[in-house]
């Protein structure tokens, strides 16, 4: 005869506790903390670069998550913004304890908005709470219009969805109605922003969202 020991606890219990501590701290200080999630090469770092250039009203800090290299953190540092690189060494997503360690080397006192650029991946980063205020999904036109339905967790949880590389719409087949329809069922009413890095189209709407979220955060 076997007996059963009831446990009933979250699998990620320990890391969720770290995430809660990060969230408390950022909440207390009124700093906005955004987790940017999208596939490899979808334009996440480009978005952050443009945001830094075009929104001097905010003081930013950036944590870059990549499997290897410090290239993305260097791109951010080149713009004079404090940045830390986390290398996950094969890990396909960031976890709260990694972010917590990275936070120690950022001058948080002088930050309005903290971005974490998660490891390029539409699946795993959506699973792990890193203490952020919100997840923002980034997907690009050449990846195709079926991404929301194929990666429902991310697209259903995102507080905003950025469709990047819309300058490529004339060249790449992309079923916009399918994308919008699926997104509306997964995440009714979520803001969908069309972004075009070469011309800067979409940046005004994005910066307006940041402004609104920061205001909400500061009550």
């Amino acid at each position: 005869m076997n007996r059963v020991i009831t446990i009933r606890q979250s699998v990620m219990e320990a890391d969720e506790e770290v995430a809660r501590r990060i969230r408390d701290r950022m909440g207390r200080d009124g700093r906005l903390y955004i987790n940017i999630i999208g596939s490899p090469g979808s334009g996440k770092t480009t978005l952050l670069e443009s945001t830094i250039r075009m929104a001097p009203e905010f003081r930013f800090a950036v944590i870059e998550g990549d499997i290897a290299t410090a290239r993305d953190a260097e791109r951010i540092a080149a713009l004079g913004v404090p940045s830390v690189q986390i290398n996950t060494d094969g890990g396909c997503h960031l976890e709260a304890h990694l972010v917590s360690r990275a936070l120690e080397s950022l001058p948080l006192d002088t930050v309005d908005i903290l971005f974490v650029e998660n490891v390029g991946n539409l699946v795993c980063p959506a699973e792990f709470d890193i203490g952020e205020d919100m997840k923002v999904a980034v997907s690009s036109v050449p990846e195709g219009a079926d991404k929301p339905l194929k990666y429902p967790l991310l697209f259903s949880q995102a507080k905003a969805v950025l469709l990047t590389k819309t300058d490529l719409l004339p060249y790449v087949p992309f079923e916009m109605e399918l994308y919008q329809g699926d997104l509306e069922r997964l995440n009714p009413g979520v803001p969908l922003l069309m972004m075009e890095a070469p011309s800067g189209k979409g940046m005004d709407a994005w910066i307006a969202l940041l402004r609104m979220w920061l205001k909400e955060k500061r009550g």
Binding site: V4, I5, Q9, V11, A126, E127, P152, P188
Partner: protein, 132 residues
């Protein structure tokens, strides 16, 4: 491939529990509740568990996964439905956008099944449980 991270987190909780309860090497089964939204592939998870437990006190135990459907309800019209094929968070009756999620997000260690031995039957740890 976050299944491996999940397995590592499970071992981080369970291994200390095994020594606390004195059940090292006696665990037969670990039961998880996984919501349909969690993108966990059961075979990948079981395989990762097998590999990760090999040199631990959980060696030889098997992972059992219950997949929990996505259940939703509408606060406006009272409709209740299962929203996972395809996944949608929109009331099918009245189109309400703010629907309530009842299940489908679980990622829980439910229980362990342990080989019963004579000495351990008295101070049965089944009454104890960690977390909530």
């Amino acid at each position: 491939m976050h299944e491996l991270s999940l397995v590592e987190a499970i071992l981080e909780s369970l291994i200390p529990m095994c020594s606390e309860y004195g059940i090292e090497g006696k665990v037969k089964k670990v039961h998880l509740r996984i919501g349909r939204m969690r993108q966990v592939i059961p075979d990948v998870m079981r395989f990762a568990y097998g590999v990760a437990t090999e040199d631990t006190v959980l060696r030889g135990s098997v992972l059992e996964l219950s997949l929990i459907p996505l259940r939703l309800s509408c606060p406006t019209c009272g409709a209740e439905w299962q929203g996972d094929d395809p996944i949608a968070f929109l009331c099918p009756k009245c189109g309400e956008k703010n629907v309530k999620t009842h299940s489908g997000m679980e990622l829980e260690i439910e229980s362990m099944e342990v080989e019963q031995s004579d000495e351990s039957s008295d101070n049965d740890p089944a009454v104890r449980h960690g977390g909530r």
